[in-house]
């Protein structure tokens, strides 16, 4: 029976010691410890969050990079295409111009030739006329009594000499 009868002294001392412990530990142990644990948990959480955020940002950045790369590729392709077109166009234009120039040259040459030819023919005609006159002179000197038939013959002959 003694075993299950609480003594007044022990009740007093237990209460005293327990409350002393409670008060001292509450101020000097539990408060700083629980606060420190809480702070650490918060800092771990924020660190994890920021790591997650950094990962997201990285991903975003990567996809952006990819996009930029893609764009650059497209741009390069477009530029190349344009350059090729420009090149082709320039070549074609040059070809055309050259052809035109050549045609012009040929034309002018031809014109020149024709002019020269006409001049030459005219000269020949003149020479022939002079020659004819000389011939006629000679003939006239030799045969001053020539008939009108002979003159007709001469002019006919001269017409025949005409080229073309």
């Amino acid at each position: 029976m003694d075993l299950v009868t609480p003594g007044i002294g022990l009740i007093f001392w237990t209460t005293f010691i327990f409350f002393l412990l409670l008060i001292i530990l509450r101020v000097f142990a539990w408060k700083p410890i629980l606060n420190a644990v809480k702070n650490r948990e918060a800092s771990i959480k924020s660190a994890l969050d920021s790591a997650e955020k950094a990962k997201d940002d990285m991903k975003k950045l990567q996809s952006k990079n990819e996009e930029i790369l893609q764009k650059a590729k497209q741009e390069r392709e477009a530029l190349m295409k344009e350059a090729r077109e420009v090149k082709d166009r320039i070549i074609n234009e040059a070809k055309e111009k050259a052809q035109q120039e050549a045609a012009k040259l040929i034309e002018s040459a031809r014109l020149n030739i024709r002019n020269e030819k006409t001049a030459a023919i005219a000269e020949i005609k003149a020479q022939v006329a002079i020659l004819s006159v000389e011939i006629a002179e000679k003939i006239l000197r030799e045969k001053l009594t020539q008939s009108k038939e002979q003159d007709a013959l001469i002019s006919r002959l001269l017409d025949d000499v005409k080229i073309n």
């Binding site: 007044i8 022990l10 209460t15 010691i17 412990l21 000097f28 539990w30 606060n35």
Partner: protein
């Protein structure tokens, strides 16, 4: 922080000093040996109960010639006749009486007598008994551990627990995350953390120190009904004080129960209020006391049979029970804290009845 360190050191030394203060009255000053004990029959029941029960001196060992080596502890008595009395328990050893006080032959308690040797009353006994001394030592250990820990946690921000703190911190976090928060709830648990933590470590340290069989350990603190009663009463008071309107409504007008049942329901609910701390008190007391009794009984076997070979059986058994008791030490501290949190949580929670 510095003043904290100084304070913790001061507390430590004051308590250390108060421990050494008990020593002067060691038995060597009182070489009056009881010759008869050497040849006395070994009575295991007496031996065990002697250990389980509280006493005014701390028995360390009995020499071969029957001489007891004990540490005498301060006796503090308040009597209506002579007021407050303070002396060492050595003065009462071996049936001596001092200032009219002596151990009663029937109950073993200190009684006051007149000159004629007649009992005139039982004084209020506020002595630093073995249990109180053990409890004080446990308090010193707890203060040493946690003031050091709190100090180091206060000093640096985002501290990483080192050394023994790394062992203690998970327990503190466990009490918070597995006991307080699930049972009391996120909003209110912080108010009760100091009590739950103090109760847990007070019980745990006392349980473990009670398992160490050498002086100055081995006091049966948490296996004492007065100690567990105080702890259970504190839980009870906290529970009732933090009880919400719902809690009281549940007691005096249980929802969903017809009014004419109230004469039955109210007493039942009131009994329920008191049976909870009562169960707390008995559970801790019985578990720890039972553990001590089993270990001591197994050791007693050697002396009952008066044969050395028995030890080859009983020592492994004692070892097994001791290991089991370490588990029980943690388990009972956990159970007490858990149930305290549960009771507080039940009273403090806002119930929502359909």
């Amino acid at each position: 922080m510095n003043c904290l360190q100084v304070l913790s050191k001061r507390i430590f030394f004051v308590l250390l000093a108060s421990i050494t203060f008990w020593f002067p009255a060691s038995a060597s000053d009182h070489p009056v040996a009881e010759e008869k004990t050497a040849h006395e029959e070994f009575i295991p029941g007496e031996f065990i109960i002697d250990h389980i029960k509280d006493s005014h001196d701390w028995h360390i060992l009995t020499k071969k010639n029957g001489e007891h080596v004990s540490v005498y502890l301060p006796v503090i008595l308040y009597s209506q006749n002579s007021g407050l009395n303070f002396f060492m328990s050595g003065k009462l050893a071996h049936g001596h009486s001092y200032l009219g006080f002596a151990y009663s032959e029937e109950t073993g308690k200190i009684v006051e007598m007149n000159e004629a040797g007649e009992t005139i009353g039982t004084p209020l006994d506020f002595s630093i008994t073995k249990t109180v001394a053990g409890m004080m030592l446990a308090a010193v250990v707890i203060l040493f551990l946690f003031l050091r820990m709190g100090n180091s946690y206060n000093k640096t921000k985002n501290i990483v627990p080192k050394g023994f703190n790394g062992f203690l911190e998970p327990m503190i976090v466990f009490i918070r995350d597995e006991i307080a928060i699930p049972n009391i709830g996120h909003h209110k648990y912080e108010r009760f953390m100091p009590y739950l933590l103090t109760a847990f470590f007070f019980i745990l340290v006392n349980n473990i120190m009670g398992l160490i069989p050498f002086f100055p350990f081995g006091a049966n603190v948490t296996g004492n009904i007065a100690v567990t009663m105080v702890l259970a009463l504190i839980t009870f008071v906290i529970t009732q004080v933090s009880g919400t309107k719902d809690h009281w409504k549940h007691v005096f007008a249980t929802p969903g129960v017809p009014v004419w049942l109230a004469p039955i329901m109210i007493p039942v609910e009131l009994i329920g209020l008191f049976s909870k701390p009562f169960a707390l008190m008995i559970r801790l007391f019985a578990n720890i006391t039972a553990g001590h009794i089993v270990v001591l009984s197994l050791v007693s076997l050697i002396f009952i049979f008066k044969a050395l070979w028995v030890s080859s059986v009983s020592i492994p058994m004692v070892l097994f029970i001791d290991v089991l008791e370490i588990l029980v030490a943690f388990l009972q501290a956990y159970v007490f804290t858990l149930l305290s949190a549960l009771f507080i949580g039940l009273a403090a929670k806002e119930h929502h009845h359909a």
